[in-house]
Structures are given as C-alpha cells and as structure tokens.
C-alpha cells in the first residue's frame, strides 16, 4: 500500500536544492560590492570586473544544475 506517491521528474526538487548555494553566493558577491562601494565610492570602477568574475564563477554552479538535470533526465527513469 502506498501512502504517498511522487509522479514525474524529481529533477525539479533537485534543481531547487542545487540553486540554494549559488543563490547565497551571488547574494554575497553583490552585498560585498555594495558595501565596499558605500564605504569607498571611488573604488567602484576598480572592483567592478571582479564582481562580474565572481558572479560568473558562482553562477556556473546553478547553470551546471540546469544542464545536468537534462543530461541525466534520460538515465534515471
């Protein structure tokens, strides 16, 4: 007897979980940028490329989640 049954792809749940880390990470990057710019407005231009590099490096984790969700979608029935 089944009490509860989950139908469909659990990849959606998995991706939701996988997006937590990058979400926190991207938030930290921009909060650090805003704080540093508020303290030293003249440093805004200097730190900007690093903001985008950091953002991109963290963001890729979430994007890997999207890509692997589709790659492994066929493997697990």
């Amino acid at each position: 007897m089944y009490l509860a049954e989950v139908v469909g792809s659990t990849a959606a749940i998995g991706y939701g979980l996988a997006a937590i880390g990058p979400g926190v990470g991207v938030g930290l990057v921009f909060s650090a940028y805003i704080q540093s710019t508020a303290r030293q407005p003249e440093s805004a231009r200097i730190t900007q490329p690093f903001v985008w590099i950091g953002f991109a490096v963290i963001e890729v984790l979430a994007l890997l989640g999207i890509a692997f969700g589709f790659i492994w979608a066929g493997a697990a029935a």
């Binding site: 490329p49 985008w52 590099i53 953002f55 490096v57 963001e59 890729v60 994007l63 890997l64 999207i66």
Partner: protein
C-alpha cells in the same frame, strides 16, 4: 523560416524538452534528423556576415569627426579595449584588444538572436558553438603563457607559493582548476544561459497555449503567462549582454594570469 515557428495548434506539446532545440532542417525542407542546414546554421552564418560587414563598412573611410556607424564601431572597440583589455591585463592588453572585441561582438550578436522576433533561438544554445569559442580562448591563454615564460609556464601555472608539504594537494587542485575547469565552465556558462533563457520563454509561451486548450476557465491566466514572456524577454536581454561581457572578461583575466610575473 516562419513556417517553422510554433503554430497555433490545440495540442501544444506542453512541457518543452530538449527536442525543441533541434529544429527541422531547411534544406531538405521540414525534415527531422537532418542537421546540415537548419535555422541555427543560418543564424550562425548571418552573425558572421553582420560582424564582418558592419566593421568593414563603418571603418572604410574613417573620419576625424566620426559618422554614426563609425561612432558605434569605435565605442564598441573602445569599450572592450579600455574597460576590459587594459583594465584586466594592463598596458600589454592593447595587443589582445582586437581579439577580445571580435569575441565580444560575435557572442553578443549570436546571443541576440534569442530575442530577435522570428529568429528567437540563439545558436549558442547548442553547446557546439560555446565549446569552440572556449577552446580558442583556452589554447590562446596557454600559448601566451608559454610564449611569455617558456617551459617554466607550467611551474608558474601549477605551483603556487606555499610550504612544500601542502604542494601535493595544491598542485592537482591548480591543475584541475586551471586546465580542466576553466574551458569547461566557459563553454557551459554561455551554453546553459542561452539554453535556460530559451527554455524559460518556451515554458511560458507554450504554457499559455496549454492553459487555453486545457480549460476555458484558465484562459485569463494564460494572458498572465504571456505577460511573463514579455518580462522575461527583457531579463533575457540583460543576460545576453552580461554573458557576452563575462565571457570576454574571463578570457582577459585568464590571459592576464598567463602574462603575470612570477608570484
């Protein structure tokens, strides 16, 4: 090409899948499973043509007081040269500015097809294109490193200044991150962004149709779904520009890492 867009059919295939990225071929018309000449192909060649023709035409007769086209071309080049190449790499960066500008404008045009009406799919949402772009950057920063440091580039890239007993752990990590993760993440980042962007638009567009055909009561909600499509198109535009910028900045930063003097 217009015949290949989604038709207003009652049985819309609702959850969009990876199959939706493999459009029917143009020559022979409408055939599935033949990928020699598709919309993706047309858009890729079109991007190359636009890029070459635009820069040639706008710089054919350079004038002291620039014309509109020349101004646009110069500001794109000036932006990449000053804000990416020189900012990231330093004075030596001017040498790489032409490549970085080509890279930036090519990715920008390729990505822009994702929101151009009637095109609405970016060639970059097929991973083959980002992989080639990443391989070019990868070979380039390694080549530049060997050119600058000679064989000691390997030591420069792999051995960070650390106590000797920690090196057995650090060297494999450095190797993994510099020579394996870098090209992989460059390619996957660009690909996954364009893929996810197209998927989001598909979900909300097809979702609207699915709700209309599923239940008359849900019809008003489908209007909301299509309104989301408009909003997401603007979001996609931001992502498009950002990804072109990020790819270029990361390439510049890898080149800078190869050129840097010893630790």
């Amino acid at each position: 090409m217009t015949g290949q867009s989604i038709v207003l059919a009652a049985d819309v295939p609702f959850p969009p899948s990876v199959e939706d990225f493999y459009l029917p071929s143009i020559l022979p018309w409408g055939e599935h499973g033949s990928y020699w000449f598709t919309k993706i192909m047309v858009l890729a060649w079109l991007s190359v043509a636009i890029l070459i023709v635009f820069f040639l035409v706008s710089y054919r007769k350079p004038q002291l007081v620039p014309t509109k086209k020349q101004w646009l071309a110069e500001s794109v080049y000036g932006f990449v040269r000053n804000n990416i190449a020189v900012d990231m790499i330093g004075k030596e960066g001017v040498r790489f500015a032409p490549y970085l500008t080509t890279l930036f404008s090519f990715i920008l045009i390729m990505n822009m097809w994702a929101i151009v009406p009637l095109a609405q799919i970016s060639p970059n949402s097929h991973i083959a294109f980002p992989i080639i772009l990443a391989v070019i950057s990868y070979v380039m920063f390694i080549y530049v490193g060997f050119q600058k440091h000679g064989p000691s580039y390997l030591k420069h890239a792999l051995v960070p200044p650390a106590p000797w007993f920690i090196l057995p752990i650090l060297v494999p990590i450095e190797f993994f991150s510099n020579f394996i993760v870098r090209p992989f993440s460059l390619a996957v980042r660009l690909f996954a962004n364009m893929f996810a962007g197209h998927m989001l638009l598909l979900v909300f567009t097809l979702g609207g149709f699915a709700m209309v055909s599923a239940n008359g009561l849900l019809a008003p909600v489908s209007v909301l779904s299509w309104a989301m499509v408009v909003a997401l198109t603007f979001l996609d535009f931001a992502v498009i520009v950002l990804q072109a910028y990020v790819f270029t900045v990361l390439t510049a930063s890898y080149i800078q890492g190869s050129l840097a003097e010893g630790h």
